[in-house]
């Protein structure tokens, strides 16, 4: 797969192009230039390391939206076996922006639900750019209840710009659909492990992200509003998105410091899309540990802890009132 480079990765892109050229030249060259290729590859590697060591939040949000970033279906394919996709909310439609179904994780039955984006234009439209409508959240709700009924742990994968702002979505109760999921996840009687793999866009993301453990990929983002949205409201200009990204605290590192997520899953240099196998191994390892940890607790203990955690969200002070 040819890697798509982001704006701030241009130096790497140029180097990689040069390496490609040399490789091509090597085939019909008498001189051995493989040493030169190795040297350049090393340079590219260290350049990537250097750039990725000091990414700004805005750059991270570009990586989180990278067109080649692994999506929910990629994780399902690599981490689970015997996946049986389940469709539809039983009321209105099947929403392709949310995917879900039963699968096996290390042989154990689990439920998997996640946002799904598309790769090419056709698939992007089919998946509505990963922006679910009420029927998507209601399908997810149905599958959550199903998981509870058969006592199987729930894994969710979060990757959405946000819930879809459309006429039909409003007519069918987008707000209610999201609110209901928050409510049900708060008391769902099975372990719930949420992994933010790309964009955690506002309420549309939260509707799948209430659980016992919330973990985040290193270059994923999670925010109350997109940086562009925040900038256009507060600065009256979407061009201020980099500033908004900076101040809102949308990166895994920042959110971990604030105690809003539990764990960061490190990505390979250059981001998850550069090395699918490595990221899949890392995610699998963390999911295993999280699941094992949660299964040591009784359902009651789990729910109590989840409730306490939810009640603990917020930063305020208490003063004496006259």
């Amino acid at each position: 797969m040819k890697i798509t480079f982001l704006d701030f990765e241009q130096p790497i892109a140029e180097l990689e192009a040069k390496i490609d050229e040399l490789r091509f030249a090597q085939d019909d060259s008498a001189v051995d230039i493989s040493a030169e290729i190795v040297r350049l590859q090393k340079k590219s590697h260290s350049l990537t390391h250097g750039i990725y060591a000091k990414l700004t939040p805005w750059q991270i949000s570009q990586v989180a939206r990278h067109p080649q970033r692994p999506y929910t279906l990629d994780y399902i394919q690599h981490l689970f076996t015997d996946f049986e996709e389940l469709h539809g909310d039983r009321n209105f439609a099947d929403d392709y922006a949310i995917i879900g179904g039963l699968a096996r994780f290390n042989g154990q039955t689990v439920m998997v639900i996640g946002h799904q984006k598309g790769r090419d234009t056709k698939e992007k439209i089919h998946r509505n750019f990963g922006m679910p409508k009420p029927e998507g959240y209601r399908k997810a709700l149905r599958l959550m209840r199903l998981a509870e009924k058969f006592s199987v742990p729930l894994f969710t994968f979060i990757d959405t710009p946000g819930a879809y702002p459309g006429i039909g979505a409003e007519e069918r109760g987008q707000s209610e659909a999201i609110g209901k999921n928050l409510y049900v996840l708060a008391e769902l009687k099975v372990p719930v492990i949420c992994t933010i793999i790309g964009e955690g866009g506002s309420g549309g993301a939260l509707a799948l992200a209430v659980g016992d453990i919330v973990q985040m990929l290193q270059y994923a983002t999670y925010s109350v509003i997109s940086p562009e949205g925040c900038a256009s409201i507060l600065w009256k200009s979407a061009d201020k998105a980099p500033e908004a990204a900076e101040i809102m605290g949308i990166t895994a590192h920042r959110l971990k410091t604030m105690g809003l997520i539990d764990r960061i899953i490190n990505e390979p240099p250059g981001g998850a899309h550069r090395d699918y196998l490595t990221i899949m191994q890392s995610v699998k390892k963390v999911l295993q540990e999280s699941l094992r940890h949660l299964q040591e607790h009784s359902t009651e203990a789990l729910l109590e802890k989840r409730f306490e955690r939810l009640m603990g969200y917020g930063k305020y002070k208490e003063v004496k009132v006259k």
């Binding site: 702002p165 949308i250 305020y316």
Partner: protein, 288 residues
């Protein structure tokens, strides 16, 4: 006849004809909906509902609770909870300055006021959003006060009523404010487990993170007439779908038609309705 006299409804005109009085500032109000010129006092006596066209004007949280609760036995919950600036947030203004400004303008210290009291002798806890305070946005203080209100209901076995009026989550608190959606709904899950009623009243406007969390989780969901209620703002939707929105889109009547709410209740009937609903849900005898 001057343009001003032409504008006056006949009733008011009669009163003013003859002698010329000096009219103090702020004596009149023009209805935002039907353009009728009204006495402030008339409007106030009518719960800020236009007597001509029934337009429900926005009212402050404290006025709302004052109109709603019985005068005796009120007790505020959570005034000790006060805001911080965890992100040291600054856009064109600092968050702390925006807070100070909102405090000055509204005389409130955040956008939710919660009170324990009674309605027609039915004991309950009522929360009301202050839209004038940073657009009624939900941050950590709102979430905590909401939860404390619900906890009082659980401890004393009371119904919980919330009057929403909010633009959504408070961006200046970043993801913390998103988490208030999860926090408030989780508290309601507990209320529900205790089989205690939650009555959600949606007033103009109820949008975004408030709409998409507890607002639609009421055992009974009520809206005031013609309130704007929805997940995404009309402008955002228009930009996304690139078509004109239908007439009355995201208004209470539209929601009722689409099955999203139980009823539309005139503000002047709110006390009667909610007292009756609470007694019905709690299998208590009716109140007169």
């Amino acid at each position: 006849m001057s343009w001003f006299q032409k504008l006056l409804p006949p009733k008011i005109k009669r009163k003013e004809s003859g002698e010329k009085k000096v009219v103090p500032e702020g004596l009149w109000s023009k209805c935002a909906s039907c353009d009728a010129v009204l006495y402030y006092s008339d409007l106030g006596n009518n719960l800020n509902v236009c007597p001509k066209c029934n337009h429900h004007n926005r009212i402050s949280a404290r006025v709302r609770l004052d109109l709603f609760l019985d005068t005796q036995g009120r007790y505020e919950i959570g005034p000790e909870v006060q805001s911080l600036d965890p992100l040291k947030f600054k856009d064109s203004k600092r968050y702390v300055d925006r807070l100070a400004e909102a405090k000055r303008d509204t005389d409130e210290d955040d956008s939710l006021v919660v009170m324990q009291g009674s309605v027609k002798t039915v004991p309950l806890v009522a929360a009301a959003f202050e839209f004038g305070f940073m657009g009624g946005s939900m941050g950590s203080v709102v979430g905590e006060r909401f939860v404390r209100g619900v906890q009082v209901c659980v401890e004393q076995r009371l119904a919980f009523v919330c009057f929403a009026a909010s633009g959504g989550a408070r961006m200046q608190e970043g993801l913390l404010s998103l988490m208030q959606m999860a926090k408030t709904t989780a508290a309601l899950a507990q209320l529900s487990e205790e089989r205690l009623p939650f009555i959600s009243v949606l007033t103009d406007p109820t949008m975004g993170g408030v709409s998409a969390s507890f607002a639609f989780l009421g055992d009974v969901v009520i809206a005031e007439p013609a309130a704007l209620i929805g997940f995404a703002g009309p402008r955002v939707i228009e930009q996304t779908v690139r078509q004109t929105l239908p007439e009355g889109f995201q208004r209470s009547e539209f929601l009722l038609e689409h099955g999203a709410i139980d009823m539309i209740v005139d503000r002047r009937r709110m006390r009667d309705k909610i007292a009756n609903l609470c007694t019905l849900l709690m299998r208590a005898p009716p109140v007169s």
